[in-house]
Symmetry: C2
Amino acid sequence: MEQLLFKPMSRVAICGGTHGNELCGVYMLKELQVSQQDRFRSFSLTTVLANPRAVDVCRRYTEKDMNRCFTNTLLSAPRTEVTPYEVTRAQELNGLLGPRGSEKAVDLICDLHNTTANMGLCIIAHFSDWVGMHLFKYLQEKITSAPVRLILFKDPPSEMYSLESLGKHGITIEVGPQPHGVLRADIYNLMREAVDRALEWAESFNSGTVFEGGEIEVYINVDKKDYPRDPETQELNAAIHPQLQDNDFCLLKPGDPAFMSFSGETICYEGEELYPFFVNEGAYYEQNTAFKLAQRESLLLPSISVKKQQ
Amino acid sequence: MEQLLFKPMSRVAICGGTHGNELCGVYMLKELQVSQQDRFRSFSLTTVLANPRAVDVCRRYTEKDMNRCFTNTLLSAPRTEVTPYEVTRAQELNGLLGPRGSEKAVDLICDLHNTTANMGLCIIAHFSDWVGMHLFKYLQEKITSAPVRLILFKDPPSEMYSLESLGKHGITIEVGPQPHGVLRADIYNLMREAVDRALEWAESFNSGTVFEGGEIEVYINVDKKDYPRDPETQELNAAIHPQLQDNDFCLLKPGDPAFMSFSGETICYEGEELYPFFVNEGAYYEQNTAFKLAQRESLLLPSISVKKQQ
């Protein structure tokens, strides 16, 4: 397989607080601002508190989930009196870190997130981004304190909606379980290790290291399942079943317990064999998602290295 | 020891949603409304969604923490245009379930709460209420699926501030760990068992059962500890240490790790030997409380039974 060449990662951005109640990223930024200051590197490092208003009130967002606002439509929408804060802020961030798809965009964005689901350390990347997938491969090789998995989204580039899509390359670092509005040292430490290793990778890449290709295991986002709800009020009729709770990335088969009604009855999963993730993520109740579903596949990565400057 | 006589528990109230993002109680009420309807009993059962506005927006409160609003001062304060919703609602609840201290007050209130702390099933009662303590003793004897502990508050009755204080007798049923805004079936099932057993106890009490006294172990709330904070900004300088996290009710000694700074340094506990609880409760960040501290003591309960009606 051929070796792909990419420009150096000259500008790297670490973003946190995209969701204001996911606290590891918020505190990580403050720590990075101290510990990474004046450190000599082959790249410039920017830290960005993505949604300061949501951080101030410790909520996911103030008017609109910002991590769904980085669409072409919203990024180019004219601002009016009723434009939600998060759309305005997404446009600002596109100016700061992008514009998306342009030569001016930063080379690599790592956006820091937490989940209430028992997902360990997940890297979320786009199917088209070999750099993001190589970063995952490096983290998986280096980090042994928790499972490290890769979730791939296959949306067409024209439908990208999340912050890390502003960069030439980008990943979301998603770590859980942690309640929203709470900071757990174990989860913070795991995220810290991921961030340190990601910066180490960028440094190594820029210095000319050839990152060998090879097979990786990926979870491809293909579906989602809502809670059983009252058809009239839309209120929940059941919770995630104890046998499914905390079992993200364990194969779910038709007939397996999926939900438990409030009187104690088991409701079984109906659907094809898939891998659940984001199981009982608190922010997804309002998005009609009890869990997302993935296909597990093997993917062959090409080797990559830096394109020497002329 | 003498046997104390109490009037029958003729009116029992189960309250949930006092904090709108503690979801077990909210869904328990709906289930009780169906399952307990038309069931013959020696008492009338009322279910009360205590803070419906906070439940609607899935937040702890809208303007003011309602479970601090049941003070004599706030319950008797005149309503003005700037009276917070929660104060108005607390006054309404005092009319519905109280008035506190009067003959009209309901006999027993169980208020349902969740915590992000790893506290299992806790009964919180007032030092002056033998009925609440006997209810705990019964639950501890009957429930084997999780640790059941009793937390006692010793505030003078004139300084009571929480909902269950409206009744002649009252307990808070506190179950965790569960993220706020999330419903976990295991935590729900544990709370459900506690509610079912509490109703069973009231039925048995009314029928004339003598509940024998004896020694119980109690945790008496005596102190609290805040996070290390930046003196200027008041922002956190550290998180709960991994060795303390999830270890509620394990003796904390001077020199034990209590916090971990964001660069990884351990900060040790300074203070007397006490039992921490509400460790890393999400709602307490804004109340300057990293954890509360208790003395563990033995307490001798008198026997109790119902006073036969004339």
